[in-house]
Each structure stands twice: as structure tokens, then as C-alpha cells.
């Protein structure tokens, strides 16, 4: 139950944080001096308006058009299929894992479990290839840190949306690594019951972390797209 609550809060929090970031970056500069209550009110109004607009636009046709318009399809063939398998397996893993964890008391079982295990293998392979071949595209060379009050100011620290996206990428990779490890080790004749319990919890926590990282990554990506900027 605790995991369900944490999952709900974390996903909702990340969603709201991304939404607020988009709201904040779209604000006129002179309106950023609003008091918090007024700002919050404007944010909820903005969120409600956008939700309504998106809901009105949403349809199977619109979704299909959105999917077809993804830059993914224009990538070179190997790269394209690598990402198709990565996204596909991750979506299935997240959907099956969280659906059963949240809504089915018995947990993941039956054919969805077999699918989960198979998708897990595919995801691990794709993730490895992405790290090897694409990881270099998501590195930001950090400046050496100075021991000053700058450390507490994100702006002065140079924390940009791109850097957050890169951090989300590596967080996703780390979570993926932990997911792989926590699926692999319980299958080995190594861990006793407490170790198995630890791996189970680690798997769930890593899964949640990977979903949050993916949300941030996608959120930042769509923000860039909205602004017409290109990723480095």
C-alpha cells in the first residue's frame, strides 16, 4: 500500500512539476513578480485550460497523427528499430508492472508476467545499445564546482533544461541498470530470502525511478520542441 501511495504521489508530483515548469517558462517576465497565491491560481487556471484543450483535441486520429509525426520514424533504420523496441518494451514493462502492483492484490502473474520477463530482456538489450551508441549525445561537461553560495542557486549553477534532460537520461540509465540487476540476481542461486526481499523492493523503486526519469526526459524534450529549439 505504501508503494502505491508513493507511486501516486511521485508521478503526480513530477507531472505537476513539469507542468509548472512549462507554465513558468511561458510567463511574461513582468508577471513573474506575482505573489505566490496569485501565481498558483494562474497556474491551476492554465493547467485546466490546457487540459481542456488537449482533451478536446484528443482522438484516435490525433494520437495516430502524433505518433506518425514523431521524429523517431525519420531516424536511420537500425536506430529507428532500436528506439521502437526500447520505447515499446519500456511502455509494456511500466504498464504491466504498475497496473498489477497498484490494482491487483496478487501482483503480476500469468501471461502478463511472462510478457514482462520477455520485455525485460529486450529492454535490457536496447538500453545497453542506447548507452553504448547514444550515451555520448547526452553528456554535458560540468564546470568545476566552487565552494560558494552559488551551489544553492540553480540558475547561477548553470542548471538548464538541457542539463536536466541529460540528467534524466542518465537517471533512466541508472534505473534501468538497477532494474536489470534486480531481475538478474533473484534468478541466481545467490540470495537468501532477505536478499530476495531487498531485490524485490529495489526492482519496484528502480521501476518508479525509471518512469519518473522518463517523464522528465520526455517533458523536457517536448518543451524544447515547443520552443523550437534543437537538442544538442
Amino acid at each position: 500500500m505504501l508503494f502505491v501511495i508513493i507511486t501516486a504521489l511521485a508521478v503526480a508530483g513530477t507531472f505537476l512539476a513539469l507542468a509548472f515548469h512549462r507554465f513558468w517558462t511561458g510567463l511574461d517576465k513582468d508577471r513573474t513578480n506575482l505573489v505566490y497565491v496569485a501565481l498558483l491560481g494562474q497556474f491551476w487556471a492554465w493547467l485546466a485550460r490546457r487540459s481542456k484543450e488537449n482533451a478536446r483535441k484528443a482522438s484516435m486520429k490525433a494520437w495516430w497523427a502524433y505518433l506518425k509525426a514523431l521524429p523517431l520514424w525519420r531516424l536511420p533504420v537500425l536506430e529507428k528499430w532500436l528506439f521502437v523496441f526500447l520505447y515499446g518494451s519500456f511502455l509494456y514493462l511500466a504498464a504491466s508492472g504498475f497496473f498489477f502492483a497498484v490494482f491487483v492484490p496478487r501482483g503480476l502473474h500469468g501471461f502478463p508476467l511472462i510478457g514482462h520477463v520477455m520485455a525485460g530482456g529486450l529492454f535490457a538489450v536496447c538500453l545497453t545499445l542506447v548507452v553504448v551508441f547514444k550515451g555520448r549525445n547526452f553528456t554535458s561537461i560540468p564546470e568545476p564546482l566552487e565552494l560558494s553560495l552559488k551551489l544553492f542557486d540553480p540558475k547561477r549553477l548553470g542548471l538548464t533544461a538541457v542539463k536536466v534532460k541529460h540528467a534524466a537520461f542518465w537517471a533512466f540509465i541508472l534505473a534501468g541498470f538497477l532494474l536489470t540487476l534486480s531481475s538478474l540476481l533473484p534468478m541466481m542461486p545467490l540470495l537468501r530470502t532477505p536478499g530476495q526481499k531487498l531485490m524485490f523492493e529495489l526492482h519496484r523503486a528502480s521501476a518508479l525511478a525509471s518512469v519518473l526519469a522518463a517523464m522528465v526526459f520526455a517533458g523536457m524534450g517536448s518543451l524544447e520542441k515547443a520552443r523550437g529549439s534543437q537538442p544538442r
Partner: protein, 783 residues
């Protein structure tokens, strides 16, 4: 004092008052009030020497050297120190109260091979069982049927009201079988379970404990006495050979000069005392190859875990028992409690490691196994195998009673381990028996018939073996030492069996449907009992007619014979009349034939009817006791006797009934479903547990755990039996488990792939992390 201060004092006072009230007003250090019937333990770890005076059922002291002393009574001998009424409320004695009392355990089986009856019976309302009263079984009947494996008490010790309500019972002759403390607590090697069983069968209930405990020698047989006999009548002076009144001759060497008897007792019963009634062994196992439970091998006794206080409310050791009993301490006697310190919900609640219980490593076993399976699935009973393991249990198959007669029975057929979900939705190994019984159909419901009701309606149909056996036993009287009378039919030769009935042996090279004949086995050869010859010939064997006379004389002693014995040879009829052989011409209607038989109403009928020969031949070499033909005839006879009521027979997981044309039909019916109960022992050592050799012990495409099939066993010889797979018992999908098992063939590959992936991703993450850290710290030059 301020207002706030006054308020605080009031709250504190209220809290103290509430605490005092909740604690019952007693000071914390005051000892809890003791139940007078359960005196407090003084802490001593020794068992007192039980040199005690014996008392009879009238609470009179017993002087062993007196003439005709009465048997001792546990109520008045043990009762003064151990409150008898508290003891008799224990689990072993309280069934007749009719409370469910926890997880269903093994019921009693009313097994009667002749009528093909295997009825699960229990006073406790457990699923799949019938209450004795519903079957017309009184406490008296129940005691006679099952008292052989009772420790006394319960239905064997009825109240005065119960005795008065059953005038046909013979309690006044037999006495009551009180709780037999010695059955469990006697340490003496003289304790003899077989003696108990025999005394119960002889209706010597009140003497049984003394006889079985070796306290004295018990003779006589209450079952042969008139119903008016009373224990105060003393010996039966009219009959000193047959209807001898029960008596006890005490073993005087074990009494002291004050007439106190030395009982060699255990506080905790020894294992063999428990196993006298609770053993289970595979049918096909050789004794010296059988292993003991791993706990016994480690030096534990049954009673180390299955404990009780004076109330004899045994700890049974199943998960959830603590909640059933409202005593959390009981959790520490389950597998999980003792080895892991967990309660039924997996919460760490009790101190593990009692009696040195090791903590299992369970290395590499995924957690889901502990959620979905009970410990006993992997650790108890025989390993799963196709067809399952057939076992015999003491109470169901009457084991452990030794003597000239064979007590152990094949019926009921008990199978294990059948994995099924329990009340907690955990898969648990169980023992299983398919019921078999005759019943009256009351709408959809089946009301079982008692075997004697079936017998009386189906006279002459059931019991083919016995009738053939009677003829063979009669003929045995006039056979030479090296001769045995036999009936030859189909592929079998039937000889007389020592306990009545017939003993079938195979006949090599014979056809299934060859003609049957009566013969004499001499060495390896068989000659016809009645050879074909010309009775008018002058050179006929001179010994043949004297031999015929012997046969006829012997056959005339056959029990239940349908007429006078005759031998027909061609057109000549041999009869035994007024002490001599009568030879006459056979009546025309008998035709020309050579055969022995019975003559009744001027008709010659064979020594054994065609139905009997067919039935015996069909069942020979099997353990079936009924054929479809017999069942159809009995159903017809029952219908006829009851003027139209509908009847059915249940066997092999199916219900059989007569269709309109007299054809036997079989159908599914809930009453034909098997009765099951959990098994916990024998616990195997870790190396023999499921999963020791890896996941494929269970998770493979054809594993015995998931894919073995059980064919229902019943007394009826038929192809119409239920077959069920392990997965159907478990309530799981067979297709899924097969597919899931198949995935384990590629699992090693998956492990390799995941290992490589984890290594590559982990290495790059480490590298990237170290580089980033180095840059942040300024140790690496910016490029």
C-alpha cells in the same frame, strides 16, 4: 493550582483509573488466578513415579488378588491428580461435540469391500464428510467400527442419556471405553495397540485399557454374552468355552504390598504411541527403505511440536491455528513460526529456533513461492510423481493391528501429495480419497445407504467370491494333501482363500473367454472335478464313484447352498441320499452333460452362477470388488425393494444410475468429488525438497508437480472414471504452466544476456560517473 494543572491531574487520575480497571484491579505482581482443575506447574522437570492405587469404575480400590477383580478405570485412577473432565475435552476425545475445530483433518472411512462402500465419516462438520447420525450410525456403531484406532473417550464413552436413547446398543455388557491415558503416555513395551483393537472388536470396552496397557491379562468376550449380562453377574457359569464373560487377571508383579500399581509413564508420549494411529506409508515401499520424518531423525518427538496442556487441546501446527485458538503462542509451533519466527501472514511475531530449529537459507528461491505455497509443498510427503503415490494410513487402512487375521485393508485408496489451495489460498499438499457408496436419490441430493441396507436388498448379487469360496472350502474337506479344489475361468484359477472368498492366480496362455470348469489342482496340473466318462462302461475307473460320493457329501455342507448337490455325467445323475450314493438316470430336461451342480425344483443349477463366475473372473487380478453388471443388478433390486425410489452408486469420481432401459449411466456429481485433508509429514530433508535441483523440479514442460494425472480409484470395475491433472486440483491453468515451464529452457540464455547488459551498462555508468565527479572536482581538465 492553576486551571491547566487541575485539568492535567484529572486526566492523569482518569488514565490511572482506566488502567486499574482494565487490569482487573489486580496489582501487576499478583499471580494470575489458577484454574483448580489445572494445577500450576511447580517447575520440576521430572515425571513423578506413578505408583498408584487402581480404582474401578465405581471408584472402589482394586485388590488384584481378589476373585474376579474389575478392570481399572482411568477416570478414578488417573482422575484424582489429572482432572478427567478437562482431559476428555481434548482434541482426540471431543469430536462427538460436532465442532469444526480448525483445519479439516483426516476423517474416518467406513470401508466395506463387499458392497463397495468407502464413506468418509466425521462428527466434525468438515467438507466432504458425512455425519454419523446422517448415516444412522450410533455411538455404539461408531465405536465398533472405528474404536480400533480410538484412544477411548468421545463416542466410546457416551453419557447416560445417550445410552438410554439407543436400546439396541450393548453398553451395559461392554461398558464404556474411557479415555485411555495409557494409549499415549505408557512408556512400557507392553503397551499393545493390537490388543486394544481386539478387545474393542470383542466389545470388551471397559477391559480394553487394562489389556492393551499390559496391566493385566483379559479373557472372555462380551460380544458373545447375552444383552442382559452385567459386570456384577461375574463369570458365565453356563458356558466356560464360548460365551465366556470378560475378566482381568492383573499382573501382580507390578503391584506393591499396598496394592499400588507401577505405571511406567511418559509426560510426552513417545512417537510410536502417536504413530499407532497416525502413520502413513507408501503402498509399494519396502519397510527397510522407508525413512523417518526428518524431525524424528534429528531426535525430536511428535509431542515436541504437537504439545498440549492438561486440556489436551493439541497444537496441530497449521498456519492460522493461533487465530483459531486465540493463542498467539501457538504460532511458534508452525513450520514458519519455528524456523522463521513468522506468523501466518509472514510477520515476524514469534521467537524462532525452538529446539534448535535451523533457519532455512532458501537461496535463490523467489519470494512469490513463500506467498503462494505452504512450506509442506516442497518439504513434505513423497515427491510428486505421475499417478501420484498411493499410501495407507493407520486409521483408514487399519494398520498396526497384528494377529492371525490380516487387519490391514486396501480400501480406501489414499493418494498423496495432491496439491490444492487451502483456506488462505496457499497451495498445500493433501491426501485424497474418492468416496464410494450406494445412495438414494432425493432430487439432486444423494442420501448414502448403509452397507447392510444394500446387502439385504441385493442378496445373491453381491459376494460372488464368497459364494465360490464356500464351494471350494466345502470341497477342500475331501481333498488329498496335495490336492486343491479350484474353479478355472478365463485366464484365472480360483482357489479357496484362508479368510473365505477366493484367491486368483493367473493361467498362462489361457483365453479370456474360455469355458469355466471345476477342477482339482495337483502339482502343476489341473484335472476336472467331474471327468467325462461312460457311467455304463464296465472298465470305468473303480475309484471314481466313491470319489463322487465324497464330493457330494462335502458339497452338502456348503453354507447357503441353493439345493442338494448332484453330479451329472452324460445322462446319469449321482446324488447322495441317506448316506449312500444314489445313481439314477437324469431327467430328460437336463439333457446330456457332465457337470456338478445343485438340484432345486427339478432344475440343475451350476455350483456357481454364471453371474458369479463372470464377476469373479472380471475382478480377478484387480482390487475392484464390483462389476458394472453387479451394480446395475443391485440398483434394480434396490428400486424394486423400495417401490420406485431412485438409487445411485458413486465410485471413481462418478455417479452411476440406471437409465430407463436398465442401462448403467455415469454422470458427474458433487457427492462423487474426493475428500481431501492436509498432510504435513513425513518432512523430507532439505536435499530432497522440491527445488533443490533447481527451478525445473517444478517449472518444466512435463514436470510431475504440475502435470501428473490422477485416475480416480473406486471399488467399481469400469472405464468411466474421473481423471484429473495436478493443475486442475490446484485451480491453475495447465496451458499456462506448460508454457511457463517451457520458458525455463531459455532462462539460462536470459541470464547470460542480462549479465552482459548489466556489466556493460554498469561499467559505462561507473565510467561516466567517475568522469563527471572528476570534472566537478576540477581534477580532470576540461576538453
Amino acid at each position: 493550582m492553576s486551571r491547566a494543572g487541575r485539568s492535567s491531574l484529572a486526566v492523569l487520575g482518569l488514565a490511572l483509573g482506566a488502567t486499574f480497571w482494565l487490569s482487573g484491579g489486580a496489582a501487576p505482581s499478583a499471580p494470575a488466578a489458577q484454574d483448580a482443575r489445572q494445577p500450576a506447574w511447580d517447575g520440576a522437570r521430572t515425571v513423578p513415579v506413578h505408583l498408584i492405587p487402581l480404582h474401578d469404575e465405581n471408584d472402589e480400590p482394586i485388590i488384584p488378588t481378589e476373585t474376579n477383580p474389575l478392570p481399572f478405570s482411568a477416570r478414578f485412577t488417573c482422575g484424582p491428580c489429572h482432572d478427567y473432565d478437562t482431559v476428555r475435552g481434548g482434541f482426540h476425545f471431543s469430536a462427538a461435540g460436532g465442532r469444526a475445530e480448525g483445519r479439516p483433518a483426516q476423517p474416518w472411512f467406513w470401508a466395506e469391500p463387499r458392497t463397495g462402500t468407502v464413506l468418509p465419516v466425521s462428527y466434525r462438520p468438515w467438507p466432504g464428510t458425512y455425519r454419523p447420525a446422517d448415516l444412522g450410525l450410533t455411538a455404539w456403531d461408531f465405536t465398533l467400527l472405528f474404536g480400533r484406532h480410538f484412544p477411548g473417550g468421545g463416542p466410546a464413552e457416551p453419557s447416560e442419556e445417550e445410552i438410554l436413547s439407543d436400546p439396541e446398543a450393548r453398553w451395559n455388557v461392554s461398558g464404556r471405553a474411557e479415555v485411555n491415558c495409557l494409549a499415549c503416555h505408557n512408556r512400557s513395551g507392553r503397551q499393545d495397540h493390537s490388543e486394544w483393537a481386539k478387545q474393542v472388536l470383542r466389545e470388551n470396552f471397559r477391559w480394553a485399557a487394562a489389556a492393551a496397557g499390559g496391566v493385566g491379562e483379559v479373557g472372555g468376550m462380551a460380544a458373545r454374552l447375552k444383552g442382559t449380562w452385567d459386570i456384577y453377574d461375574g463369570p458365565n457359569l453356563d458356558d466356560r468355552e464360548w460365551a465366556v464373560a470378560p475378566y482381568v487377571k492383573y499382573r501382580t508383579a507390578d503391584f506393591d504390598s499396598k496394592h499400588s500399581y507401577f505405571f511406567d509413564l511418559n509426560y510426552q508420549p513417545a512417537d510410536d504411541r502417536c504413530l499407532a494411529c497416525h502413520a502413513a506409508s507408501p503402498v509399494d515401499e519396502v519397510q527397510w527403505k522407508a525413512d523417518a520424518d526428518v524431525h524424528s531423525a534429528a531426535g525430536l518427538r511428535c509431542a515436541d511440536c504437537h504439545r498440549n496442556g492438561l486440556d489436551h487441546d493439541m497444537v496441530r501446527g497449521y498456519e492460522g491455528e493461533a487465530a483459531d485458538k486465540g493463542d498467539r503462542a501457538v504460532d511458534s509451533f508452525t513450520c514458519r513460526g519455528c524456523h522463521l519466527g513468522e506468523d501466518a501472514k509472514g510477520r515476524v511475531k514469534v521467537e524462532p529456533g525452538r529446539l534448535g530449529a535451523p533457519r532455512p537459507k532458501h537461496t535463490g528461491i523467489p519470494l512469490v513461492h513463500f506467498k503462494r505455497l505452504s512450506c509442506t509443498v516442497c518439504h513434505s510427503g513423497p515427491m510428486p510423481k505421475d499417478g501420484f503415490t498411493r499410501v495407507r494410513t493407520s486409521r483408514a487402512n487399519r494398520l498396526g493391528v497384528y494377529g492371525a487375521a490380516a487387519w490391514a485393508t486396501d480400501l480406501p485408496a489414499v493418494f498423496e501429495p495432491v496439491y490444492m489451495k487451502d483456506a488462505n489460498h496457499k497451495i498445500t499438499p493433501r491426501r485424497l480419497v474418492w468416496p464410494a457408496f450406494w445412495a438414494r436419490k432425493d432430487g439432486r441430493e444423494l442420501v448414502p445407504l448403509r452397507p447392510e441396507e444394500v446387502e439385504s436388498a441385493a442378496a445373491g448379487i453381491l459376494g460372488a467370491d464368497e459364494r465360490i469360496g464356500q464351494v471350494l472350502i466345502a470341497l477342500t474337506q475331501v481333498m488329498a494333501e496335495d490336492e486343491t479344489p479350484v474353479l478355472v475361468s478365463g485366464r484365472f484359477i480360483f482357489g479357496p482363500h484362508i479368510d473365505g472368498g477366493v484367491e486368483a492366480t493367473g493361467r498362462n496362455g489361457a483365453e479370456d473367454k474360455g469355458p469355466s470348469f471345476w477342477g482339482i489342482r495337483k502339482g502343476d496340473g489341473i484335472v476336472p472335478l467331474v471327468p467325462d466318462f461312460d457311467p455304463a462302461a464296465e472298465d470305468k475307473d473303480p475309484d471314481i464313484e466313491p470319489r463322487f460320493q465324497e464330493f457330494l457329501q462335502a458339497l452338502d455342507t456348503t453354507l447357503g447352498k441353493p439345493g442338494r448337490p448332484v453330479i451329472q455325467v452324460r445322462k446319469t445323475l449321482y446324488r447322495f441320499v441317506d448316506g449312500s450314493l444314489d445313481i439314477s438316470e437324469a431327467p430328460e430336461e437336463l439333457g446330456e452333460a457332465t457337470r456338478p451342480g445343485w438340484i432345486a425344483d427339478d432344475a440343475l443349477i451350476p455350483l456357481a452362477s454364471d453371474l458369479d463366475v463372470r464377476a469373479a473372473t472380471a475382478k480377478a487380478g484387480t482390487e475392484r470388488t464390483l462389476t458394472e453388471e453387479e451394480v446395475a443388478l443391485v440398483l434394480g433390486a434396490l428400486t424394486e425393494a423400495s417401490e420406485g425410489a431412485e438409487f445411485a452408486y458413486v465410485s471413481g469420481g462418478r455417479m452411476f444410475r440406471l437409465a430407463k432401459g436398465g442401462k448403467l449411466l455415469s454422470e458427474k456429481h458433487e457427492a462423487a468429488e474426493p475428500v481431501t485433508w492436509a498432510l504435513a509429514h513425513n518432512v523430507r530433508p532439505a536435499q530432497q525438497s522440491l527445488g533443490w535441483n533447481g527451478c525445473a523440479d517444478c517449472h518444466s514442460a512435463g514436470s510431475d508437480f504440475f502435470f501428473s494425472t490422477l485416475e480416480a480409484q473406486g471399488p467399481l470395475l469400469t472405464r468411466s472414471v474421473t481423471k484429473r491433472s495436478s493443475t486442475s486440483f490446484m485451480g491453475l491453468g495447465g496451458f499456462f504452466q506448460g508454457f511457463f515451464g517451457l520458458t525455463f529452457t531459455v532462462r539460462p540464455l536470459l541470464k547470460v544476456v542480462l549479465t552482459v547488459c548489466a556489466f556493460v551498462v554498469g561499467s559505462l555508468l561507473l565510467l561516466a560517473g567517475i568522469l563527471a565527479l572528476g570534472r566537478l572536482a576540477g581534477l580532470l581538465e576540461k576538453r
